[in-house]
Amino acid sequence: MTDVRGVRGVTPVELTRKDFMSDQELRWCPGCGDYGILAALQLMLPELDIPPHEMVFVSGIGCAARLPYYMNTYGVHSIHGRAPAVATGVALTRPDLSVWVIGGDGDMLSIGGNHLLHALRRNVDLTILMLNNQIYGLTKGQYSPTSGVGKVTKSTPFGSVDHPFNPVSVALGAEATFVARTHDTDRNHMQEIFRRAHDHHGAAFVEVYQNCNVFNDGAFDDLLRRDARPDMLIPLRHGEPVRFGAEGQRGVALNEFAELVVGDVDDLGEDRLLIHDEHRPDATLAFALSRLAADPHTPTPIGVFRDVRRPVYEDEVSTQIEAEVERRGRGTLEELFRSGATWTVD
């Protein structure tokens, strides 16, 4: 079999943001949170030392899903909801590539929920960024599976009656090995989380809070207003006690029912503060953290909830093939055709 993968490039000496920018005009609404997310991504990527031609960005349909067009990498803008599965096909075929999946909350949790779950369960080596604006942007403003109860939108003029998903909980319930959350108002945090997600070998799921200023403006303002952040964002740092507030005066501790509670450190007691551990084999701690905030209106953890190692799907597939070829030799058509009973007519 000839090598069809083309010539592998030598990594350019120094990659810059520009190397990752395509020539296509950005088509999001002015003020859209997607701009900042794209920028954070393009600023971070050069650090990975992977040339753009070894990256594939796969998306479904939605405003968020337009992102691959703006990346000077290989890219597939597929159809609504199917990006995790399309990306699985890429990773399965080409474990040598860096494969990214971009989509919105509707794309990934409504029509595409199942593909996301199975990609996480299989632990395919994908970096999945879900841009959560709690709305359908592209179709001009219907509620999404992450919109809150009571949300008035075009399809819920009397307020939504659907209880929303908590994307971090969903991912953890689906056996995800890496789960994190970040937001479009902190470029550094995004860059850090994107890099961590990429560095994780296996499926990495990142929820990015994103403002849709046209159809759901300010959905995350309670958290992300500059003055609210210290009291509303709970930064997760591996190995450190979970605390927040301008003076670190607030903290998170465990109660007797395996649940986490938020309180003043003075009341909780410093030594009772939860020490965050991303690497627990048991997903419960991460899940408990995800339940701290039912919606982005009470103190909400951001950062890496979970980061554990587990065999990666395409690696295991390759291993089985290699082992078999090793054991019994590469098959030939001659052998294949003769693998059943044969007889000869002269």
């Binding site: 083309g6 000077n72 290989y74 199917r82 075929t93 070829v325 009973a341 044969t342």
Partner: protein
Amino acid sequence: MTTTTSGTEIAQHLLDRVVIRFAGDSGDGMQLVGDRFTELSALFGNDLATLPDYPAEIRAPAGTVAGVSSFQVHISSSDVVTPGDAPNVLVAMNPAALRANLHDLTPGATVIVNVDGFDARDLTKAGYTTDPLEDGTLDAFTVYEVPVTSLTLQATEPLGVKRRDAERSKNFFALGLICWMYTRPTRPLVEWIEGRFASRPTVRDANLAALRAGRNFGETAELFDHPFRIEPASLPPGTYTNINGNTALAWGLIAAAELSGLPLVYASYPITPASDILHELSRRKRFGVRTIQAEDEIAAASIALGAAFSGALAVTGTSGPGLDLKAEMLGLAVSLELPMVVVDVQRAGPSTGMPTKTEQTDLLLALHGRHGEAPLPVVAARSPSHCIDTALEAARIAVRSRTPVILLTDGYLANGTEPWRLPDPSALTPIDVDLTTEENHTDPDGRRVYWPYLRDPATLARSWALPGVPGLQHRIGGIEKQDGTGNISYQPENHERMVRLRRAKIDALGTDPVVASGLELDLQDGADLLVVGWGSTWGAITGAVRRLRDDGHRVAQAHLTRLDPLPLQLVDLLVTHPKVVCAELNLGQLTGVLRDRSLRDVRGIHQVSGLPFTARELARRLAEELDQ
């Protein structure tokens, strides 16, 4: 011919052909003995064709008609095209098996019944109120009543096998008996049993004992006058193997991967009767095959598309319900112009329908089942072993024109078998992939750039560059693209152009020298009738045409193995024959297409019962058309 095995008068020793049907309860191992007898006959050198038939998916209660499983094999010393119309010999292991199959027999046929299975309870379960062995039901047939169960028990007793286990060997008794009747050497069978049950010596020994006992029973019992003999067929010289359609398809895909140098990725979700393709490919890790059992058919198609983008020979296989689900992803593949093979092993619909039964009712779905103008090539296999050629052809077309291709087979082909002459692998035509590995266009400012939608002027195929190649980064999606650059375009003129280009690209395959004709012709000068068919009905139609010719009619046959684009000569043939009849296992799906294209009053012969045509019935209906 068929009369030679019937009646009580001394029959000829030498037969040209025989059709045997083994029938019993789902648990009786009928598929196994059918398979074994088939292999034996193949090794012996007969030409043959088989038709397994098993019940609905879950095991029905033992002894009921719904639970009957059967296996029909047609062996001959001359050319075989179908598994036979009506069995010459029916082996019925219980009353239900008799009841379920009796109506397929013609007078004079031989019936071998396991009388041990005919007690009152068994009869009731099968829905008999009186005993068919006594009430005259079988008067028209030659009946042999054989105590299969008790003889098996007797034979295995010395081995100390438990009664329940010993009973399980009764299928081998029946097999032994039939082997004697048709003079099959049992040596290969003995070896097979020894190998298969090596780890379970008691089972092995019981089966061997039962086999021997059945054989001996034939030789010593005074029931049968003498065995028959069916000489080896004069097949073209070569090495043969007996193969079913699903295995053939899997092998064809592996061969296509080898011939193209592309790694094979097969993404599928289990579904009857397509699952065995997944099973077969999953075993073939030594060929570098990557299989994935996806979470559903949409995911399977999506994974295949991702694989295609990344440089695989990407294939997804399913049956009707799964093809419904793949529609949207196929539309994307049409728009992205990526090579991909989509196998649909058709089964009886609509909806869940009758999953183990065969039908040709997905043709219009394959042709038109996507929103927008989304044309793609459709090919169909015409016999079990032809699935290999069809897989190669589908892959060749897909790669050549950068397009998804739908490959149609059906339940009949999937499970039916026939001898296949092994080709010399080195003589197979390579599949030229023609990847783009450098920039292919010069910008007005002189810069070399990569345009993914730059086309080959002959095939209209777009350029294909794989991720990993420096400088050829590109992004493609389902929004309408500007021809050439592949950038998003909402321009009306561009859209009109692209819609027509996508259609023209498929049509161009019709005159492409690298592509097969898609038409199997057996014409006759001055024919009064042209019989057209497609896919799996080839054997039955061929058989029917032979009969008509034997009866002195002048009949031509044109069989399609490509449905889009239609074979070039077809319309000419439709227009030049006085009468045209299209026979298919649906309500007239191809018939309508032929009428549209030719404006000829093509008549349809349709059957939608879940069963394949029989040559006899088809000949009768064609003769009717000739008379009109």
